[in-house]
Assembly symmetry: C2
DNA sequence: TCACATAGAAAGTGAGGACTTGCTATCTAT
DNA sequence: ATAGATAGCAAGTCCTCACTTTCTATGTGA
């Protein structure tokens, strides 16, 4: 019945612990309450630390948010990469990829990213601060797309097709105001994704019938 | 050299005048400064009236913003309707329509609408208040699409194709952080729109060669 | 072990934001 | 013409938010 000995965490541990707690809390707040409601107080409450702790590690709210952006950007690329390991031969395959991408795009990490992007449009400082993460993410997405689909598409069409797909899914995410983003797609959206899959496959798969 | 006589505007005129001044100012602020920076003070400064004037006509800031949404929704439908009066036979035709739609989607009225939609995701009250305008706009867009493209597409595919197109353009608008939204499309975007046009035309135009 | 640096908490502070409160000016009905 | 209503202004009120300041606790290097 002995109490555990004092944890004796090293300073670096404490530091890293509260920083990731803050970043995760920031993601949660941004994803479910939006940019404006993500006040430093809200993040601290969610993280279970004081505001003093926050401002020890991040000089400004914006610095926290930029760090949050970089935090989720890596996750987003990873999630995109794991879209599908298997082939994308048939229309069904591509439709499955799109359906899965839709759920990825609706995930909290992506919601967070979008929330910050929208805020950046109206805030030149934030926009500049996010630029590196933005460009890095774009490049990594293109790399991932090349790995996944590179042998199916002409190199020149890779970026444009990626643009069509992810912009459409982002647009969907923005117009999906449902409180529950994990809800089922709805008939129109379902059919739209199916159509897109058909169009892509038919565009690039005419010689090799499967 | 006589001074003009006192304008003698009727009360209804004065009322309507400042109301539309406020709504237009609200559109301007939302489009170029974003939702958060669209304070009542900012709108009043832009409109050239006092805050008292604002709160005489709108009980809350949110009421002003909802009215603003309805104000721009009608413009947006009209702009969409005027997309193209001519035919959409060839790939070039459809590509032209998409290019024009892109500029429409980047217009201040549409920026405003998106800004409010994004805010609505995090604000249940605003979401509910915008619901009627949202549904009305969606229905009118579908009507317009039916008028424009109804004889080219199966009725069942109208909504999904519209969804693909406008969501992709909305996604583009969100990821376009450039201070000047009227800038040229950029190579990837250009090619993406072209590809989309080709895919749509080839999907639906195979029997009637032109 | 002890001087020191770092991590974190609690209670401020000052600015900005939504909304109010009188007060004045302009219109309208009698 | 004049009383009552409506439009508009200027100066508040109160609250929230980003950020500070001061103080305590905990790990670190000699």
């Amino acid at each position: 019945m002995s109490f555990p000995p004092p944890p004796r965490r090293t300073q670096a541990d404490r530091r890293a612990g509260t920083i990731t707690a803050l970043l995760d809390a920031s993601v949660t707040c941004l994803a479910e309450r939006g940019y404006a409601a993500t006040s430093t107080a809200a993040v601290c409450a969610e993280a279970g630390v004081s505001q003093g702790a926050l401002f020890r590690h991040f000089p400004t709210r914006q610095a926290l948010l930029v760090a949050t952006a970089e935090h989720v950007a890596t996750r987003n690329v990873a999630a995109f990469r794991e879209t599908v390991g298997s082939d994308v031969d048939t229309v069904d395959d591509v439709a499955a990829v799109l359906a899965h991408l839709r759920t990825v795009v609706l995930s909290p990490a992506n919601q967070t990213w979008r929330e910050l992007l929208v805020a950046a449009r109206a805030d030149a400082d934030l926009r500049e601060a996010l630029r590196p993460a933005r460009e890095s993410l774009q490049a990594q997405m293109l790399d991932a797309a090349a790995d996944l689909w590179g042998d199916r598409l002409p190199a020149d069409d890779l970026a444009p097709v990626l643009s069509v797909v992810v912009n459409m899914l982002d647009g969907l995410a923005f117009s999906a105001l449902d409180p529950d983003p994990a809800a089922a797609p709805g008939r129109t959206v379902d059919r739209a994704l199916r159509l897109l899959a058909e169009m892509i496959v038919h565009r690039y798969d005419q010689q090799e019938t499967r």
